[in-house]
């Protein structure tokens, strides 16, 4: 048995290093992480991505801040609505604003987005009325908006299922573009963004989607928000290598970006989308960020993580650092920040009043939605239900509508 050799620990870069940091909550993100705007509000440089940052107009930078502040205010309002019994559940995004606004603002109208269920910030960048997002959580719809209007797909609750839909959609784009080119049509080139998290990265569908994307060179950007916690399980349990490194195994580029740096996230996503749209294939972006709040309003993070960790991450807050930058550079004045606050409150009021006025659903809509074409069993059961309900007419107190 003496000839049997185990892999030697500590060989850098071989993937055999059993001691290597896995990119967990407390570990160093590593030198490979792209960061332009640090927590101190100072803009650094990067040989590739600084050029993207330089293209940003002050108006866009202010827009990033306004978006992030708006969606954070929205998040607070939705959490309050849940606490007040208006929503069954809420999934807060606080802490992940830069990852979502930066990437969402890098997309173009013709791109198509597949979110998981926490991408309220991306929804904002796609002009989805945020009040619509609450229908799912209020229990009146399993969707809530028309995905074809803003190319922003419905939330998907079975984790990672949408990563395959993304690749399939991208394969459709490829075929459409081939057809358009053959017919001399000048449609803008499009790509897909697939959002998922560090927890979902363990799902088999993520693996299959990356295999398919690589095989067909599909125009898709995999955008993984590593927020460090899959409910109560840290990233270390999901992966022993930094997530972005997995792209290497599939044969396409992987980039880790500071997910709390909206400028870097925007730059990296713009680069990845150009890469995909131009036919150079998929990219994996790992946005290194942190879920500052609970997984959902039903979660209790005090049971599985230290408050010191949360405090440390609050020091890397995405809004604070952009505010510092805008103030230091004289790109925004007090009036701007006041206006942002007013706009946020206005949005919150809109979301609250819309949510409270949302009409209750009717089970007839559920019957109507099962199939696109007429179906005898559904028709029969609906007919039974109508007859059954009609039996209650006149029973004022107990009557069914």
């Amino acid at each position: 048995m003496g000839a049997t050799q185990l892999p030697t620990p500590g060989i850098n870069g071989t993937g055999l290093d059993l001691q290597s940091p896995a990119g967990g909550a407390s570990s160093d993100p590593g030198a490979e992480m792209i960061q332009l705007l640090g927590p101190d509000g100072k803009l650094g440089t990067d040989p590739v991505f600084s050029d993207y940052a330089k293209r940003l107009e002050p108006e866009q930078l202010r827009g990033f801040y306004a978006d992030m502040a708006k969606v954070r205010r929205f998040d607070q309002e939705a959490t309050a609505l849940q606490r007040q019994g208006e929503l069954a559940l809420w999934v807060p995004l606080t802490g992940q604003e830069a990852a979502q606004i930066g990437s969402g603002r890098a997309t173009q109208r013709q791109d198509y987005i597949f979110p998981t269920y926490r991408e309220h910030g991306v929804a904002l960048t796609r002009d989805v009325d945020l009040a619509e997002l609450l229908k799912l959580f209020r229990g009146i719809s399993n969707g809530g908006w028309d995905p074809t209007e803003n190319n922003f797909h419905l939330y998907t609750l079975v984790l990672a299922a949408q990563t395959l839909h993304s690749v399939g959609y991208a394969m459709g784009i490829q075929r459409d573009q081939k057809f358009a080119e053959a017919n001399g049509s000048n449609e803008p080139k499009a790509a897909v963004v697939a959002y998922f998290g560090d927890g979902a990265s363990s799902e088999g569908d993520v693996h299959e989607s990356m295999v398919f994307a690589a095989s067909y060179n599909a125009p898709v950007v995999f955008f993984c928000q590593n927020n460090h916690w899959a409910i109560s399980v840290p990233t270390e349990v999901q992966t022993k290598v930094p997530l972005f490194n997995r792209a290497k195994g599939y044969g396409f580029p992987g980039i880790r970006v500071d997910g709390n740096d909206v400028i870097a996230v925007h730059a990296v996503t713009e680069w990845a989308l150009e890469h995909a749209r131009e036919g150079r294939g998929p990219v994996l972006i790992e946005a290194y960020t942190y879920r500052v709040g609970a997984h959902t309003t039903a979660d209790d993070p005090t049971k599985y993580r230290e408050s010191a960790e949360e405090t440390a991450w609050r020091g890397k807050d995405p809004l604070d650092r952009l505010e510092k930058y805008l103030r230091n550079e004289g790109l925004a004045d007090e009036a701007f920040f006041e206006q942002v606050k007013t706009d946020g409150d206005k949005l919150a009021a809109h979301v609250r009043s819309t949510t409270q006025s949302l009409q209750g659903p009717n089970i007839r809509e559920s019957f109507a939605g099962v199939y696109a074409e007429p179906h005898p069993l559904v028709a029969e059961e609906l007919a039974w239900f109508e007859e059954y309900s009609a039996g209650f007419v006149g029973d004022d107190e107990e009557g069914r509508k």
């Binding site: 198509y112 719809s141 399993n142 969707g143 028309d146 995905p147 074809t148 797909h153 419905l154 998907t156 079975v158 299922a161 990563t163 395959l164 839909h165 993304s166 690749v167 399939g168 959609y169 991208a170 394969m171 459709g172 784009i173 075929r175 459409d176 081939k178 088999g204 569908d205 299959e208 989607s209 295999v211 398919f212 095989s215 809509e365 559920s366 109507a368 939605g369 099962v370 199939y371 696109a372 074409e373 179906h375 005898p376 069993l377 559904v378």
Partner: protein
């Protein structure tokens, strides 16, 4: 009229769909140059190219999941699952995503995906290659499930599946792939509605309902019963979801007796659903309980004993005797 096998009829049906609908495309494992392990897609990649006849990585969830994405982009993907027992890695995508997409979008999204699955036993094959999982899909609202038993139906039903706006699981009776029949490629004739059951043989003493691979067995059993002086009606269900209960009910009202035969285990199966519905719709017409003939409550057994497992003429005749003796 052209004579062809069921496999060839599906091949020609797919060819017609690819020709008539530029948004349709085939996806699956080994369906390209090989033409599929059963050669059902033989020659199609040559005529339609690799963008429309797509050899996929070996991943069933990947096949179904990407097909959903293609459908959302306006395409009509036709997926091949290589064998019945290998659909389960794709089960999540089929049941939680494909079946629910139209419903959860409030009718705004449609996902016209077809999933072809060769199913059933009787071919002496190894584990996972002989199963009949149709009840698992029939229990899932949002899916439609059809299965042809002859070449003419196969030719038309695959095209109707592609044309359907809802997702369709298309179960292909693999042990009948080489069964020849007349196909009218000009007109579907009585096959114009894929969700309608067909009375293949009229009778007055009892009704046998079967589908897919057991239809020829049911017809043979009815012919044998005739020699004993029993007039037996045979219905080819054709559609497993929805089920054409009107045709079955009308038949039972005439005959008073019903036997349902399928290869899948009887427990929790399609036969039980038909028995329950018929007892509600035709209780006073029944002369005997509805009797099911099907697989046992066990994993599909090894090939050397599948003969004992599968419904055959004798098992159907035994059920018929029980029904008639009631």
């Amino acid at each position: 009229m052209t004579t062809m096998t069921i496999a060839k009829a599906i091949n020609e049906g797919l060819r017609a769909s690819l020709t008539n609908n530029p948004k349709s495309l085939l996806m699956g494992e080994d369906i390209g140059p090989l033409g599929g392990v059963y050669r059902v897609t033989d020659g199609l990649i040559r005529d339609f190219g690799a963008d429309r006849v797509v050899d996929t990585p070996l991943a069933e969830s990947g096949i179904v999941g990407t097909a959903i994405g293609l459908a959302l982009r306006g395409y009509r993907p036709i997926c091949e699952i290589q064998f019945d027992g290998f659909v389960f890695p794709g089960f999540n995508q089929i049941t939680t995503q494909l079946a629910k997409m139209h419903s959860r979008s409030g009718g705004k999204l449609t996902v016209p995906v077809v999933i072809r699955i060769p199913y059933g036993g009787g071919i002496g094959s190894i584990e996972h290659h002989s199963e009949s999982p149709e009840a698992l899909f029939a229990h899932t609202a949002g899916l439609r499930i059809i299965t042809p038993s002859n070449a003419h139906d196969a030719y038309w039903m695959i095209q109707q599946a592609v044309d359907c706006t809802d997702p369709v699981i298309f179960f292909e009776p693999k042990r009948r792939y080489w069964l020849k029949g007349e196909v009218d490629t000009e007109s579907p004739g009585p096959a114009s509605d894929p969700f309608q059951a067909h009375v293949l043989r009229e009778g007055s003493d009892a009704t046998i309902v079967a589908y897919g691979p057991l239809v020829p067995v049911a017809l043979a059993a009815a012919a044998a019963a005739e020699e004993d002086g029993h007039s037996v009606e045979v219905i080819d269900l054709r559609s497993i979801s929805p089920i054409d209960f009107d045709t079955v009910t009308a038949s039972v009202k005439r005959t008073g007796r019903l036997i349902v035969a399928h290869e899948a285990p009887t427990f929790g199966g399609i036969g039980g659903e038909i028995a329950a519905r018929i007892s509600e719709r035709a209780f006073l017409h029944l002369e005997a309980p509805v009797i099911r003939v099907g697989g046992f409550h066990m994993p599909y057994p090894v090939a050397k004993v599948e003969e004992d497992y599968l419904p055959d003429i004798d098992k159907i005749l035994e059920a018929l005797d029980r029904s008639l003796a009631y």
